[in-house]
């Protein structure tokens, strides 16, 4: 899609300003129903678009993303623009600097339409946990768009953005992409700098694109990837032009299907998934059954490591340096007696009233697991099981190049279906979470749709690649896209 728009721009069929206006008009028209956008950045977008038009008018060459309008998840900083991560505690936070991904997109001439909705601090799988209200799935407004990057996926699916950035800690890019019928791509841990992302769980977080096509995802990755001196965890591996690897064929690639995964699937998801497997076989890939014996521990490992890191990362939101400061003029109950309650009451009240129920639950869980006497039993043990899961993957990747799974255990569910039981919501991530635990790149691509209540609901499948092998991953995903199941 980006390539076609790029051709139109350079062939003077449309100007970047017109293209941007077209997207704002669509947002104006339909976003009151969908609520993908939290903040629109019209002035910035028009200024960016005018710059591109001036370049084209001067006869200068423009890059693939230049003048192409997109959306940024609200936990990524754009200088001078509000960044709330959809939490009340950051309601009035104006980012004083650009995230590295944002800076790189600006340099590449991309146009920013605005900031999009998400579950608070990226904690959730439905975007129902945003402090600003839920986003709706453009395919069926009675259903959730998935999450936490639900605003990003809904914006792209509804034609309110060509591309969007999301973040993915346990599936937050891929699951909403699957629910909304678009492509969601989590690169290898460290492939993309996280400087300027509001951190959730630092050993798992990764930024990536949500787009209509695999090629578009490759285009965005080519711009945002690469080492960054501002993020010491960014990998020392230069960005490439990932579109060069999209050959449309998979002959010679070995694709693993995990033993025991398919049997337990709901019948509709199973049927959709099996068609995809058959299609890859048809295209010439070699399908092999693989075993990942420790992968069944992925969710419990995740629900120890993630809350521990959350409790540490979210300690910075304390009403002191920025964000909301609350005072309720009552003494909170405490089991210790501070010498002076004044400052501690600022922390207690600001966090009590500023942070929502789900992040609080995770902070408390992490604080408990890291508290004196529990570290070995929880965090350390989880990190050891993480090693075992990683070893399973290393072994599997000796036999195959890629691993194929469904993205989600079901298509998009209805609002309020899972909000009362946190564990039901956590199970949403069962297929996606492992890629974060082991750090490999993973992509969700729309597979055969599933009919529910006379509606065709999107269902994605997921490919996981080897560490830093975005090339083969994108190649295989793209090959399906150009040869989909009929």
């Amino acid at each position: 899609m980006i390539r076609e728009l790029h051709e139109k721009l350079i062939n003077h069929e449309i100007t970047a300003v017109q293209l941007t206006e077209e997207y704002f008009a669509r947002i104006e028209k339909q976003d009151k129903d969908i609520f993908a956008y939290l903040t629109l950045t019209k002035d910035l977008a028009m200024e960016q678009a005018r710059k591109v038009d001036a370049k084209i008018a001067r006869g200068e060459e423009i890059g693939m993303l230049e003048g192409i309008p997109g959306a940024i998840k609200d936990n990524l900083c754009v200088a001078g623009v509000r960044a709330t991560a959809c939490s009340k505690i950051l309601d009035n936070y104006i980012a004083p600097y650009d995230a590295t991904v944002v800076e790189r997109l600006k340099e590449a001439g991309a146009v920013f339409l605005g900031k999009v909705n998400m579950d608070e601090f990226a904690m959730g799988s439905s975007t129902e946990k945003s402090a600003y209200g839920p986003t709706k799935n453009p395919v069926d407004l009675e259903r959730v768009p998935g999450g936490s990057s639900g605003g990003s996926a809904a914006a792209v699916a509804s034609g309110e953005a060509v591309w969007a950035l999301g973040t993915d800690t346990g599936g937050s890019i891929r699951q909403p992409a699957s629910f909304c019928g678009v492509v969601g791509f989590k690169p290898t841990y460290g492939r993309v700098s996280r400087y300027g992302a509001i951190a959730m769980a630092s050993s798992l977080d990764q930024i990536g694109p949500i787009t209509k096509t695999v090629e578009d995802a490759a285009i965005v990755l080519s711009v945002i990837a690469g080492e960054d001196k501002m993020d010491a965890t960014s990998a020392q591996s230069p960005a490439k032009d990932y579109t060069r690897y999209l050959t449309g064929e998979v002959a010679g690639l070995k694709i693993g299907v995990v033993k025991g995964y398919v049997e337990k699937l709901n019948p509709d998801v199973k049927a959709s998934f099996e068609k995809v497997v058959a299609q890859y076989k048809e295209m010439g890939a070699e399908i092999k059954e693989i075993e990942l014996p420790n992968v069944k521990y992925s969710l419990p490992v995740y629900y120890i490591i993630m809350p521990c890191e959350v409790s540490s990362n979210l300690a910075r939101f304390d009403g002191v340096k920025y964000g909301m400061r609350a005072e309720d003029h009552k003494d909170s109950i405490l089991d210790f007696v501070p010498e002076n309650r004044n400052l501690i009451e600022t922390y207690l009240d600001s966090r009590r009233y500023g942070i929502g129920a789900e992040p609080k639950r995770r902070i408390m869980l992490g604080t408990y697991a890291l508290s004196s006497g529990y570290y070995d039993a929880y965090y350390l043990r989880a990190q050891k099981v993480r090693t075992l899961i990683k070893q399973d993957f290393e072994k599997a990747y000796e036999a195959v190049d890629l691993i194929l799974t469904p993205t989600t255990p079901s298509p998009a569910f209805k609002f309020d279906e899972k909000t009362n039981d946190p564990i039901q919501m956590y199970l949403e991530d069962i297929f996606t979470i492992t890629a974060n635990i082991v750090g490999v790149p993973a992509i969700s691509v729309p597979g055969p749709a599933i009919e529910v209540d006379d509606k065709q609901l999107p269902q994605g499948f997921q490919l996981m690649g080897k560490w830093f092998d975005e090339e083969n991953l994108l190649r295989a995903a793209h090959a399906y896209e150009v040869h989909p199941v009929k």
Partner: protein, 93 residues
């Protein structure tokens, strides 16, 4: 099972203000999740090294050079309360 006393202790450590009814809710929720993740106890991890960094990156060193931040005024503007260029908080001592 997490007790209400434990929740109160954790809330204090996490600096989250709570009242009596929060204690019950958190005790139930946290117990459910802890119960659910307890299956990790069955895994034999003897002799297994923990993984802290998944792609095996080692410490990265750099020159200790000071950089000036361009938008100082904007950071100061974000202080919830201020006096001149200083962030203001309640008395610490």
């Amino acid at each position: 099972m997490i007790t209400k006393e434990e929740v109160q202790h954790i809330a204090g450590l996490a600096r989250i203000g709570v009242d009596e009814k929060d204690l019950d809710k958190f005790a139930t929720d946290l117990s459910a999740v802890l119960d659910w993740i307890s299956e990790l106890k069955e895994v034999d991890v003897a002799g297994v090294e923990p993984t802290a960094h998944i792609t095996g990156m080692e410490n990265r060193m750099r020159e200790d050079v000071q950089n000036d931040f361009e938008n100082k005024a904007e950071i100061i503007n974000l202080f919830p309360d201020r006096k001149d260029n200083f962030g203001k908080v309640k008395s610490v001592l």
